[in-house]
């Protein structure tokens, strides 16, 4: 049989006619159910795919613009930091280059104590537009004017109970020549409370002036380097590194942001893959629904299949009719599911906050009735680990892959019932009713 009659017969078998005899609706209901189950299985898959992408994108952008810069140049042996800084700034394509001195310490304030990651930075870094895009000033201002000014991350400020104008004692420890530990206390004044919108970062950062940090923090537990920004770090991972490589004085090693945070990005990517694999299982389950709906259809249509054969349809024709039908069911489910998933992920922030409001509202109502104490508000995504608002970014290419894969899967699921239809004896038609 050519393709046109196959399509013609398949469309009638699968869609039927409203005025046709008999209410053999079992199979049609099963078919509609199969379309729905394919669609429903794709909604979370597409949503996770997209939201995870958005989250990874958002987290990466914060790490890159606020943490690692686009690239870092480290001196080894006796690299000339100031010379390298000049050379980096003069390199074509470079948007900015700044000195940074990093160290660790313990911050004391109001009787609380927290380990901090000390970042001695230049004002120019704080003022650069890509920094400001991701670093929100919650209180005070993001300026390090006086030598002992400091900015603290929002979560850190909360734990220490500090606000702009408050003092923090920063304790660092230096090892003396004879092996004894010598503590050093530096009193800093909080000028601003800042937030990257990502708890992990906000809980550990304490910014101070680079020149002060280089002076007060112990050399052996500090490292100074040049942070470089150039172009779009996600379009060209190595843009910043390549811009300065070969232009710096001898004694520098340059690393791109991806090299610097390899572990983080790999773990983000593998978490996403894990989630997607779990979701893919639900799509496979939906494909089983396609197979069972088609089995019902073949069972219901035994006689008509046999009649088709007595009219000259080959086993191959019948296999094509049903496997094509399976692919169409998968395709319909995939398109509906992809649309649903897209809609859900475009509105994911609203959906999550609605969910939180429903849960918290009913909990408040519950406590109002029982007289119990209200505990901490419920968050669907613990902000400790996730961005407070999820950026949305549509991965059209991947969605297309998912749709095509779903259609293929449904086609494969249809092979069983289709070959049963193909193998049916034409005599089946004429058995006693």
């Amino acid at each position: 049989m050519r393709s046109a009659p196959v399509l013609f017969v398949a469309s009638r078998f699968f869609l039927g006619r409203s005025d046709a005899a008999g209410s053999r609706d079992q199979a049609r209901k099963a078919l509609a159910g199969a379309v729905l189950s394919v669609a429903l299985s794709l909604v979370p898959l597409i949503t996770v795919m997209q939201v995870a992408d958005g989250m990874i994108q958002g987290i990466s952008a914060r790490y890159v613009e606020l943490g690692t810069y686009h690239a870092e140049a480290f001196p080894y042996a006796s690299g000339d930091l100031m010379g390298a800084l000049e050379a980096a700034r003069a390199s074509p394509g470079v948007d900015g280059a700044w000195l940074e001195t990093q160290s660790v310490g313990v911050a004391f304030a109001n009787g609380s104590r927290e380990g901090v990651s000390v970042r001695g930075v230049e004002q120019g870094f704080l003022d650069s537009s890509s920094t400001r895009e991701y670093l929100q000033v919650e209180y005070g201002e993001a300026t390090l004017e006086k030598p002992y000014d400091a900015l603290v991350g929002a979560a850190m400020a909360e734990k220490l109970g500090v606000a702009p104008g408050d003092s923090i004692n920063l304790i660092s420890v230096r090892k003396s020549y004879d092996g004894a530990f010598l503590p050093r206390v530096t009193m800093l004044t909080v000028r601003g409370v800042v937030s990257a919108g990502y708890r992990d970062l906000d809980a550990q950062w304490l910014f101070m002036r680079q020149d002060t940090a280089a002076r007060v923090m112990p050399k052996e537990s500090s490292r100074s380097f040049i942070g470089i920004k150039a172009g779009n770090p996600f379009e060209n991972v190595n843009a910043a590194r390549d811009a300065v490589v070969g232009r710096l004085p001898p004694g520098f090693a340059v690393y791109s942001w991806r090299e610097l945070e390899r572990n983080l990005f790999e773990s983000l990517a593998s978490t996403r893959t894990m989630l997607l694999l779990i979701m893919a299982v639900t799509v496979a389950v939906a494909a089983v629904n396609v197979a069972s709906a088609l089995t019902t259809l073949v069972q219901e249509r035994r006689q008509e299949i046999a009649v088709m054969k007595s009219l000259g349809a080959t086993p191959g024709d019948l296999a094509r009719i049903f496997s094509f039908g399976g692919a169409v069911i998968g395709g319909m489910g995939a398109v509906v599911g992809a649309a649903g998933g897209l809609l859900a992920s475009v509105r994911i922030n609203e959906i999550l906050s609605l969910l939180e409001r429903i849960v918290n509202g009913s909990r408040r109502a519950f406590y109002a009735v029982t007289g119990g104490a209200t505990t901490e508000a419920y968050r669907v995504l613990d902000p400790e680990y996730y961005l407070q608002t999820i950026p949305v970014d549509v991965p059209y290419g991947e969605i297309l892959v998912v749709v095509v894969a779903t259609i293929t899967l449904s086609f494969v699921a249809a092979i069983g019932p289709a070959s049963r239809a193909a193998a049916l004896s034409p005599l089946e038609a004429f058995r006693r009713r």
Partner: protein, 226 residues
């Protein structure tokens, strides 16, 4: 090329179950020239339908040779049999076996559409055939909206659409009222005569059997001319 449309010899058919072997046909011989109209009668359960299924390539004999329209259907594979059924044979049964989701016109055109892939030509042919069986006004009706006699006439039109050399009719009037039965009988014999098509009709109706050019009776697994 032989001038017989049907040549079968020594056709045996057994149905095996765990308990027993049931021999239904025990060596049937039949030779029919092109254009001959023949009838088969016989008691219920004697194997008439089984024999027709074998001639039409729906079932295979246990042994023996069957050549229809020059095709040795005991040797043909499934795909070859499908083509044989499409080109050489038109079936009409006691039940109409029309496809429920297709209109009268679509039911009739489908075998031609399946064979040629040419929808327009198939529809045109079906149109003419439905006119010829007196159903010009019922083209777009689904089987559920047709009477028993009308359904059977649609089935006859469908059997003719590929201009087969052989029409196999298995008790085509068995389910019809007298008036419809006469219409169907006239149609089958008339068309076979007009188009020089071989007709083999199984019937319990003596009047219908008597109209045939040649009459056979199936008894005890063998066919004999009467």
């Amino acid at each position: 090329m032989s001038n017989y449309l049907i040549e079968c010899s020594g056709v045996r058919k057994e149905f095996r179950s765990e308990a027993e072997i049931l021999e239904i046909l025990s060596g049937v011989d039949l030779a029919l020239e092109k254009g001959v109209r023949a009838s088969i009668t016989g008691p219920s359960g004697c194997g008439k339908s089984t024999f027709l299924s074998i001639l039409g390539g729906l079932d295979r004999p246990t042994s023996g040779r069957v050549i229809v329209g020059g095709v040795d259907i005991t040797e043909a594979d499934e795909d070859k049999l499908a083509v044989f059924r499409a080109r050489e044979v038109g079936f009409v049964f006691q039940f109409h076996y029309l496809l429920n989701d297709f209109t009268a016109l679509e039911n009739v055109m489908l075998p031609a559409f399946m064979l040629t892939g040419d929808k327009a030509a198939s529809v045109e042919k079906a149109y003419g055939l439905l006119e010829a069986v007196g159903l010009g006004g019922r083209m777009s009706h689904v089987p559920a909206r047709l009477s028993g006699g009308e359904r059977q006439r649609v089935a006859i039109a469908r059997a003719l659409v590929n201009e087969p050399g052989l029409i196999l009719a298995d008790e085509p009037t068995g389910n019809l009222d007298r008036a419809s039965a006469v219409q169907v009988e006239d149609l089958l014999y008339g068309i076979a005569a007009d188009s020089n098509t071989t007709l083999l009709v199984v019937t319990h109706d003596n009047g219908m059997a008597a109209r045939a050019d040649r009459r056979y009776e199936l008894l005890n697994g063998r066919l004999k001319e009467s």
